[in-house]
């Protein structure tokens, strides 16, 4: 193996192969060629330095304070989710009431109460969105209600 071939192999070799003791053709070349061994050592040294640099990287600030802040944020978001859920249910109840009540009233000029049509409601889960479709008493209308969705991790 000549130096040019060795340099090509060194560009892709595992770190363990960049040693004269690794065996194989590259190892044998490194054992006899000072220039290529110097290049291999340089690669090993820089990649080890890079690993050390990254290992030493640490977040600033006190861990205790970061954990307390995260816990407080998590509690606040949980409260907001519960509130949003309650508001959604309340709004759904109000809407359903508004839709059902007219069906129980009398039609103009008629003495007989209009029977309440069964309220057909079903939900459709689509990617990224929840939809509720409500069929009121009057078949000419359909109410489509987009509901807020929760983000998943």
């Amino acid at each position: 193996m000549n130096c040019a071939d060795a340099r090509q192999l060194m560009l892709e070799a595992d770190l363990a192969e960049l040693s004269p003791d690794a065996g194989g053709e590259l190892g044998a070349h490194l054992a006899t060629c000072r220039a290529c061994r110097g290049a291999a050592d340089e690669i090993l040294s820089l990649e080890a330095g890079l690993a050390g640099w990254l290992a030493a990287a640490a977040p600033r600030g006190d861990t205790g304070a970061a954990l307390a802040s995260a816990a407080a944020t998590a509690r606040r978001r949980a409260r907001q989710r519960r509130l949003a859920g309650a508001l959604t249910l309340a709004a759904a109840a109000v809407l359903a009431t508004l839709l059902v009540l007219p069906a129980r009233t009398r039609m103009p000029g008629s003495s007989a109460p209009v029977p309440a049509a069964p309220l057909g409601g079903f939900s459709v889960a689509s990617p990224g969105r929840e939809v509720m479709v409500v069929q009121p008493a009057d078949p000419r209308f359909v109410v489509v209600w987009y509901l807020p969705t929760r983000r998943s991790s």
Partner: protein, 198 residues
């Protein structure tokens, strides 16, 4: 023992307890996860401040979503995915491309200048330049694979599992990443190439 292996061992004990509501176990788990998540986020975002934001958001996620970790994969694999998602969310929120850890490079140089050690400074400058090349120059997939395989010491199987790709694909990315970085090393320091006397 690599950082990932160490974290996995700690998590094996703490995650079930934390998921059952043990507050002390949750605090210990989060405290142990924070530096690892920060480093992963640093590689993802290339910016120390952004990495801090991502790490903090992941801690919140661990508070709210740890119960969703079903144990079907390694905890570190799941946590890495959560970190990647948060880094991706942050990039979307900021509406900008990955920007570089110039500040980190400056910090590395400043640290050695303070030591007044010329040889150490030269080495640190090279490391900082390589870090810049890693964080900025490589495509995201290559950067992730190189980081996990060569800097964190994960096997190719672990890298593939964590990144949701086949081991063969991971190896291809690793080859490309090494080639780009090592070519950069030779190009930046031509004295290496000039030493061809063997």
């Amino acid at each position: 023992m690599s950082d990932t292996t160490s974290l996995e061992a700690v998590a094996a004990d703490l995650v079930p307890r934390a998921a059952r509501g043990d507050a002390e176990a949750l605090d210990r788990l989060l405290g142990r996860c924070r530096p690892s998540v920060y480093r992963w986020a640093l590689v993802q975002t290339g910016d120390a401040a952004d990495a801090e934001d991502v790490a903090q958001e992941v801690l919140v996620r661990l508070h709210t979503s740890l119960h969703r970790f079903a144990g079907r994969s390694r905890f570190t694999t799941w946590l890495y995915q959560v970190t990647r998602n948060e880094a991706s969310n942050l990039r979307r929120r900021l509406g900008r491309r990955l920007h570089l850890a110039a500040a980190l490079a400056r910090e590395a140089q400043a640290g050695t200048e303070a030591r007044d050690d010329p040889a150490g400074r030269v080495h640190a400058e090279r490391v900082a330049a390589l870090a810049e090349q890693l964080l900025h120059g490589l495509p995201p997939r290559q950067r992730e694979v190189f980081h996990l395989a060569d800097l964190e010491g994960c096997t190719l199987g672990e890298v593939a599992e964590r990144l949701g790709m086949s081991p063969v694909t991971a190896r291809v990315h690793l080859f490309h990443a090494r080639r780009a970085l090592r070519t950069g090393i030779v190009e930046r320091w031509p004295e290496m190439a000039a030493r061809e006397d063997g």
